[in-house]
């Protein structure tokens, strides 16, 4: 698969930008398109492998069942939580109004 098989359209890159809440300049869009095309080509390479009979992997580490017991370990942490708030009102984060 030497030549680039996948093409990302202007609409797709626009849509992905909206989903990611990114405002992209024209140059950035072109660069992102090229990157995404390369990624999809790589996926195509992986798809050439025959995986019939192989269990789908659900995690990269062969570890399962990591749990904690249902015991309260954290106290009132509001000062640390609010320390990075761009805007704070009393004990709440203040954000632009979200509903009409």
């Amino acid at each position: 698969m030497a030549d680039m098989a996948n093409k990302i359209s202007d609409e797709t890159i626009e849509y992905v930008g909206i989903l990611a809440k990114l405002e992209l300049s024209e140059e950035e869009k072109e660069a992102a398109k090229a990157d995404m095309e390369k990624m999809l080509d790589y996926i195509d390479t992986l798809n050439e492998l025959d995986t019939a009979g192989v269990e789908p992997m659900s995690h990269v580490f062969p570890v399962s069942n990591v749990f904690r017991e249902d015991v309260v370990t954290n106290g009132d942490n509001r000062e640390e939580t609010l320390a990075n708030a761009p805007l704070r009102k009393e004990d709440s984060f203040e954000v632009p109004r979200t509903i009409g």
């Binding site: 659900s58 904690r68 017991e69 954000v95």
Partner: protein
């Protein structure tokens, strides 16, 4: 002839689990703390923080899945659901899409035409979001992340319901099962049980489904019934006018009895789910399933069987009392305290249900202690107070959980059965009612009732009616 329409309804029910801590961190789930006082780097999505799954969440979810006849997914895992909104500090919700904890179950409901199965498509575990408060005056919203990371299960039904009554029967059944398991208190008003209604209409006999809408913001059974009727009408009117139903999410406003479009398919969310890399898979062995099954508390059908054997109460009463775990618990505790199950059942069936109806109280919100009801029954049996006074005292137990022994003492409500103390009053009543006295002496037995009533009233209900009756008869001989 006008077309006949059928309503097709499926539900997504969110239930908040009764754990002490959040799903992925050791923050408390307690309700009502100061804003952001139950938060940490995990539940506020700080970079580098790592979630660790609360084992109790898995066990509650398994218990609910088993009790609703689901198959447990023995290798299950979490996925990220991506969206941007200020209630969600991580910009993704940890949920389950590909391998949810339980699938393919059902619950059985009672309908006007007999029993019906409502199938459950799947049930998954996920985390709740924070709470937004919209400021009326400022152009801002305030965010409290205390709810962020509180464990939920979402139970997705198949579109098997056809009427609002069936929907409510299904919700009541789910609530009963979950409450019996102790997995949640399922309070609709406080949001620990929430239902989204997916509804479409189609012509009777049609095999295909119509376009559906999803309604949110339904926090009482009444609102759900209203919203279903309103949305059914709206969709039928559109179709009758030759218009199309648009697939969209609508928000029901119960005050205005109207729903509003929230977002339509054009700007439908693209959640870009992908496997959650910070959490490892959950492998559920047969032994673990057996353990959860064995630890399951007594469910309603088992309770009914036991009541039949253990207590001499009518089957009808047993069925009503066990409809809610709360009333069943009250019954058992009060019966144990006074040893009179039949009398306890009567009090619950008559006075408790009457006061609940009058005050609009749900079983989960009952606050009186069963010991006080037991004491009250003992007071009546000992003849310390009579039935009329007992009802009044019970009203105080129901609202303020007063200790009936103390209350009767303080308020001077003890039955007066001492003839000496009653004599003066009875004499006064006889003197003041010559007509009734004459009638009685003339053979009208009924007239005695009037004199009884007068005496009881003069004694403010506290006299022993048997003693008064005998005194009147003796004195009018």
């Amino acid at each position: 002839m006008a077309k006949q329409y059928e309503t097709v309804i499926g539900l997504e029910v969110h239930i908040e689990l009764a754990t002490k801590t959040k799903i992925f961190c050791g923050c408390s789930t307690e309700f009502g703390g100061a804003p952001n006082s139950h938060t940490c780097p995990v539940c506020t999505g700080m970079p580098g923080s790592l979630p660790v799954l609360n084992k109790q969440v898995v066990e509650y979810a398994m218990a609910i899945g088993l009790a609703t006849n689901c198959k447990i997914t023995q290798v299950c895992k979490f996925d990220r659901k991506n969206y941007f909104y200020p209630d969600n500090p991580q910009n993704y919700q940890i949920s389950q899409l590909y391998l949810p904890i339980a699938r393919d179950g059902y619950v059985e409901i009672e309908t006007g035409n007999g029993k019906k199965k409502v199938r459950i498509h799947e049930m998954h575990m996920e985390e709740d979001a924070g709470k937004l408060i919209h400021d009326e005056w400022d152009d801002t919203s305030l965010v409290d992340y205390n709810r962020s990371g509180v464990p939920l299960v979402e139970i997705v039904s198949e579109p098997d319901m056809r009427t609002a009554d069936e929907v409510i029967a299904y919700l009541e059944k789910l609530r009963m099962i979950v409450q019996y398991l102790g997995a949640s208190d399922c309070k609709l008003q406080e949001g620990s049980m929430r239902a989204d209604v997916n509804l479409s209409v189609r012509e009777v006999g049609s095999e295909t489904f119509g376009t559906r809408t999803e309604m949110k913001n339904l926090n009482s059974f009444k609102a759900i019934a209203h919203a279903i009727e309103g949305e059914r009408q709206r969709q039928i009117e559109l179709l009758e006018e030759g218009k199309e139903v648009i697939q969209e999410t609508r928000r029901w406003d119960d005050n205005k009895e109207h729903s509003y479009a929230m977002r339509s398919k054009e700007d439908a969310q693209d959640y870009r789910y992908f496997p959650e890399p910070d959490l490892v898979p959950i492998v559920i062995s047969d032994e673990w399933i057996a353990r959860v099954k064995a630890a399951q508390p007594e469910l309603r059908s088992e309770k009914l069987e036991r009541y039949k054997k253990e207590f001499d109460i009518p089957e009808y009463d047993a069925e009503i009392i066990t409809e809610s775990k709360k009333t069943a618990d009250l019954f058992e505790a009060a019966a144990a305290a006074c040893g009179k199950p039949k009398k306890v059942a009567n009090w619950i069936m008559v006075e408790v249900f009457r006061l609940m109806k009058e005050t609009g109280t749900e079983p989960e919100d009952l606050t009186f202690s069963p010991e006080n009801l037991a004491k009250l029954i003992d007071l009546v049996d000992a003849g310390t107070i009579n039935g009329t006074v007992a009802k009044k005292v019970f009203e105080k137990i129901f609202t303020d959980n007063v200790d009936p022994e103390k209350y009767v003492e303080e308020q001077g409500l003890k039955t007066v059965s001492d003839e000496g103390a009653l004599k003066e009053v009875v004499e006064q009543v006889i003197a003041a009612n010559p007509k009734a006295v004459e009638d009685y002496k003339g053979g009208k037995e009924k007239a005695l009732g009037a004199l009884m009533g007068q005496t009881m009233r003069a004694m403010k209900g506290k006299a022993d009616p048997g003693v008064v009756n005998q005194m009147l008869r003796d004195m009018l001989k």
